[in-house]
């Protein structure tokens, strides 16, 4: 979502994330220093100071959310000049004891694997399984909205608002409209 200045672009970026997270938790988003207005560098955001969110479900599950983003200037005629683009993400579901269930990662400026992928936690696999947690299983780009939806529909997390389905549908539509790569 574009804005008139970097700060407005960051606000426009954060608002859907807050709305999305509010479907399953009371979550506080923290930005790295300069993350509200400094263009031209990669910033990070964490939810709840990088502590996993305890989800309302049985068995108890926790979700950790982190993203990298950059404030960029755009030159398209008729559009506001600033927007935020995602530079990476890590969405991780854990058991109550902190063991990884799955994670969706994309970190194109990080280590060896530059495409979006998922990891599966070893506690979810049999000892003789072919899958293990260090394999990078390719995925398309994964939105936070789709992860939150899966928490509710697949993992039995109790939503914290009645209109969660509508909220996620709306925010996912924004994501699909404004993303700059598939």
């Amino acid at each position: 979502l574009p804005g008139r200045d970097p700060r407005e672009a960051v606000d426009a970026f954060l608002e859907p994330l807050r709305d999305t997270l509010s479907c399953v938790a009371r979550a506080k988003i923290t930005l790295s220093p300069g993350g509200r207005g400094e263009a031209g560098k990669v910033h990070a955001l964490t939810v709840n100071d990088d502590q996993p969110i305890r989800l309302k479900c049985r068995p108890a599950l926790m979700l950790r959310v982190g993203m990298l983003y950059e404030i960029i200037r755009i030159t398209e005629t008729g559009r506001l000049p600033w927007r935020v683009t995602t530079r990476g993400y890590a969405y991780e579901m854990q058991t109550a004891s902190g063991e990884l269930v799955w994670s969706y990662h994309w970190h194109p400026s990080g280590n060896r694997i530059l495409y979006p992928h998922t990891h599966l936690g070893h506690t979810q696999l049999r000892k003789d399984a072919v899958l293990h947690q260090k394999l990078h299983n390719p995925t398309g780009r994964v939105s936070l909205e789709s992860v939150i939806r899966a928490c509710i529909t697949e993992y039995g997390v109790a939503p914290m608002k009645d209109d969660w389905d509508k909220t996620l549908e709306l925010r996912e539509a924004d994501f699909l409209t404004y993303r700059s790569w598939p």
């Binding site: 220093p33 993350g35 910033h43 990070a44 990088d50 890590a90 280590n111 694997i113």
Partner: protein, 46 residues
């Protein structure tokens, strides 16, 4: 924040993590814990 995460999942200090990250020690790593900590680098380097 990065220091806490590095100690928690990699048993090293944030300082050591950053030094080894800069040296390229993790370039070929498959460990998802590296990603978890690396996502916090902007908090340590404003």
């Amino acid at each position: 924040m990065l220091d806490r995460a590095a100690r928690e999942v990699l048993s090293m200090s944030g300082e050591e993590f950053l030094r080894r990250w800069d040296a390229g020690d993790f370039k070929d790593s498959d460990d998802p814990a590296i990603t978890r900590v690396a996502m916090l680098i902007p908090f340590a380097r404003p």
